[in-house]
Amino acid sequence: MRRTLFFLIPAVVFVVIGVFLGLGLTRDPQVLPSALLDEPVPAFDLAAIEGHDKPGLATSDLKGELMLVNIFASWCLPCQVEHPQITELAEEGIKVQAINYKDKPEDARQWLDALGDPFTRIGADPEGRAGIDWGVYGVPETFVVDADGTIVYKHVGPIQERDLPKLRSVIEGLNG
């Protein structure tokens, strides 16, 4: 019996590691600790996409009510994936602002024409300068900004169907 216990050691060690691996999975690696969380939105002022009918976006536009800021680009396939969800949120009456990240105006226009434009305002950030200030790791990223212009939540990667409940609860928590 003592011998069997001795030979059980590897299995026990593995169980401990396995538990931690499991715990690791529950912690979403996409929730990166953003230095901007609970900070006011960075100062920026972006012009409209050339030839597009929506106005540009600046810090002063992000005040007065809760809104989303979506960072997107026409060259980014995951942005295409999340677009129906973004549109759905906009149709529910949530104001969605956008920053068009490192894109060409003609590509961005074409993309918005083809897939629809749910945004209130779109700032063009061709060089990605504002992206740096926002701490963008990779597109798409979506920020929730409250009425005071403070960033309260950040979603990295495409917003998929399964992400909507979490996002809605964040938004409702703030409105309610």
Binding site: R3, F7, P10, I17, G18, F20, G24, P29, P33, L77
Partner: protein
Amino acid sequence: MAMPTIGLVEMGHFLLLMAFAVAVIQSVVPMIGAARDDSAMLEVAKPAALGQFACLTLAFAVLMQAYIISDFSVANVATNSHSSKPMIYKISGTWGNHEGSLVLWVWILALFGAGVAVLGRNLPDRFKARVLAVQGMIGLGFLAFIVFTSNPFERLDPAPLDGQGLNPILQDPGLAIHPPMLYLGYVGFSTTFSFAIAALLEGRIDPTWARWMRPWTLAAWTFLTLGIALGSWWAYYELGWGGYWFWDPVENASFMPWLAGTALLHSAIVVEKRNTLKSWTILLAILTFSLSLLGTFLVRSGVLTSVHAFATDPERGVFILALLVIAVGGSLLLYAWRAPSLESGGIFSAVSREGSLLLNNLLLATAAATVLLGTLYPLFLDALGGPKISVGPPYFNATFLPLMIPLAIVLPIGVLMAWKRGNLPSALRRALPAVIAMAVIATVIVFLVAPKSAMATFGIAIGVWVIAGSVFELLSRAGFPNMGAARVWNRLCGLPRAAFAMTVAHIGLGVLILGVTVSSTAQVERILTLAEGETVDLAGYDITLASISDVRGPNYVAERATFDVSRGGSEIATLFSERRFFPVERNNTTEAGIDTGLLRDIYLVIGEEVEPGRFNVRLYYNPLAFWIWGGAGLMGIAGLISLADRRHRIGAPQPARSRRPADAQA
């Protein structure tokens, strides 16, 4: 563009499902056959293993075809390829992503399964059937993973006009073949795992078992060695920082099975020669593959952030974790149940060849454990509510190196020890010529290189010690210094290839130690700005930034710097360093200009233009850098030499053989 392959892609998906079905048969039927001693059921194993290999080969070919013709109606191709990419990267794009790399993974698994089915002629039927069944179970788990969570053949409707491209940093010839090499290595260890499980089920482990397993361990180890070396070489010339090993989680994921596999290779020799250390060897065989699976989990689930991580998806992580728990947990429980009943073999004294191999094993296993701890520590901390951290090189250097130093010091003495009961004074006396050779060579090198620190001197001495000791061991085996040169030569020619393989591998380790020590302690780094035509000194070389020009590649545009390298007025080399911009992926890569020499690398990197006409440059003089990959390459070559030993093919003497047929029918 999508038209010609409608049907073919669905066929690929169907083939994966077929492989899944065959895997079910392969894992279940032979196991029942083994339990009931039903030879008809045992015979299912071989055709099933071959059938699975055939299905997966075709499925993999279909996926590759979709990449070759840029069929963007396949989601996987659209996300990871682009029509303007050179053909080689279209092909390597097949496995440069999550889904495709998994298909490669199971394909290699099936390749090894088919290999055992065809080449394992000397294995008893029941044992072989069990090995193939375990192989089938692993395949089953991973095929389920692919079919249920990661279908590479998913269609995209409507198909985009062009793809998203492949991460430019991955568009490199070295990286095109690096993953397949690495997978051949760590998936190859599935065979040792299957051999261990089959042996536990049979309840019998003897020297014959170790001999059967040896070629498979060697093959996997060789591929893994070469794969890791390639990856590190790629990091060296592609990342542009002059470094070659970063203790990144993904590097560690391949290094841990390597350390465990190296220990296994050594402990299996003890089982083969002395019929002892059996339960330890079984455990190592299980752990080596478990670490490969853990590596797959870490890379695929994205629990650790890493520069190498492709995509992160918690759902997939849960699936792989489940696979890991079943495979590793299950096998370790089986081990706890069956291993205590294994008869222990001959006893030996601490001072003996077995004793030194055991020490080698303890050091390598501890090293693997420290790497594991360092890799998972951020995860532990995060799970316990601590901050998000990453464990860097200081930890690994502080824990890993102190374990490698005694390993290297003991190696040349250990190989001179006798089996069973060695004699330390006599082994030391026999090592005396090696000690003298080391002292002489080390003094000469210390004089020539003039290392700046005690650490460097120490590292050089150890490297030379390992090389001198290995050469001396080979010579002494041939009768040196007691016999004449002609007889020694004759006897040397008559030695088995495995003996040469051991020497070459150990020399490789010595070369690697020298490369790592000298390149890290005597590196010269200069970071400055240069204008066209300016010359600076780098460790005695004159480096001139000759010109800056714009060049256009197949799918990138680049700013190319031309450097002239000369010494004492004579031209040595013209090097090009580029900053490439990939418009499709909107990403930059840096290509270093490297002049590789036997004794030193000149490594030049162009940076950004800081003010009009002036550029940031990073210049490195890396002495003995080539020795790092040369040493690793020697180890890989040693593996190939040992595989070519004819004793593996003819199976040599097999005392147990006569009993086997009766066993299988009993």
